[in-house]
Amino acid sequence: MAFLDIMIGPLALADWLSWFCLIIGAFFLITGTLGIVRLPDVFSRMHGAGMVDTLGIMLMLIGLMFQAEEWIVVAKLGLILMFIFFTSPTTTFALARAAINGGINPGPKKAGRSVDIQDKKSKDAKVEHKKQGTTSSNT
């Protein structure tokens, strides 16, 4: 497109836009992965992964689009972008559901629903244990 070739200072407009998108995208990539390293549990680390998958990757790919010389390259970058846009929430959803079913407790320890379920389970286990004890003693 013609207006992307307008020279502003030392660089063309497309180069300015590329620099802007790549620098902001790099900032979000490093911030998101620092969140993956630093945050306390799986569910908050998913927030960091979401930062990487949305703002980081997407700004980087849009920044690369301004440097493409053919339209097919822009189309391929757009395909990658759309694919990551749809698969990243799906993966995070499946992983969160697997983590909850796998026994990881979201939220603080003395509040929330999963703690109640755990307490009920432990009470039921105690009751069963008592029943088994009485039956075994009776027999």
Partner: protein, 104 residues
């Protein structure tokens, strides 16, 4: 842009940022206390690999690498879903206990 005699393009800076992020997420994949931390970190590393392949294509002047990046994105998604299902059910086959049992 030229700094101290070295010409630095925008792809160099993007490549350095992606490599630093991959190192950080691989650290979490090695250290992670639960298996879900490892799956999450490996998924992020795979997504960053797509970006790494794309940027390398631009750096080398051969944007045909984008095809490989697109394929890698597909395989990364399927692999993550498969590993998540395997961790949850210890099986990758069809569900035996009703239609809703095998959903991830």
């Amino acid at each position: 842009m030229t700094i101290a005699g070295l010409t630095i393009s925008m792809f160099d800076i993007a490549m350095i940022a992606v490599l630093v992020s991959m190192a950080l997420s691989l650290f979490r994949a090695f250290v992670g206390p639960t298996v879900f931390d490892r799956i999450l970190a490996v998924n992020v590393t795979g997504t960053l690999t797509v970006l790494l392949i794309s940027i390398y294509g631009f750096l080398d002047g051969r944007p045909d690498f984008l095809d490989i990046g697109l394929l890698y994105a597909l395989i990364n998604f399927i692999g993550t879903i498969a590993v998540t299902k395997y961790v949850k059910y210890q099986d990758l086959g069809d569900p035996l206990e009703g239609p809703d049992e095998g959903d991830v």
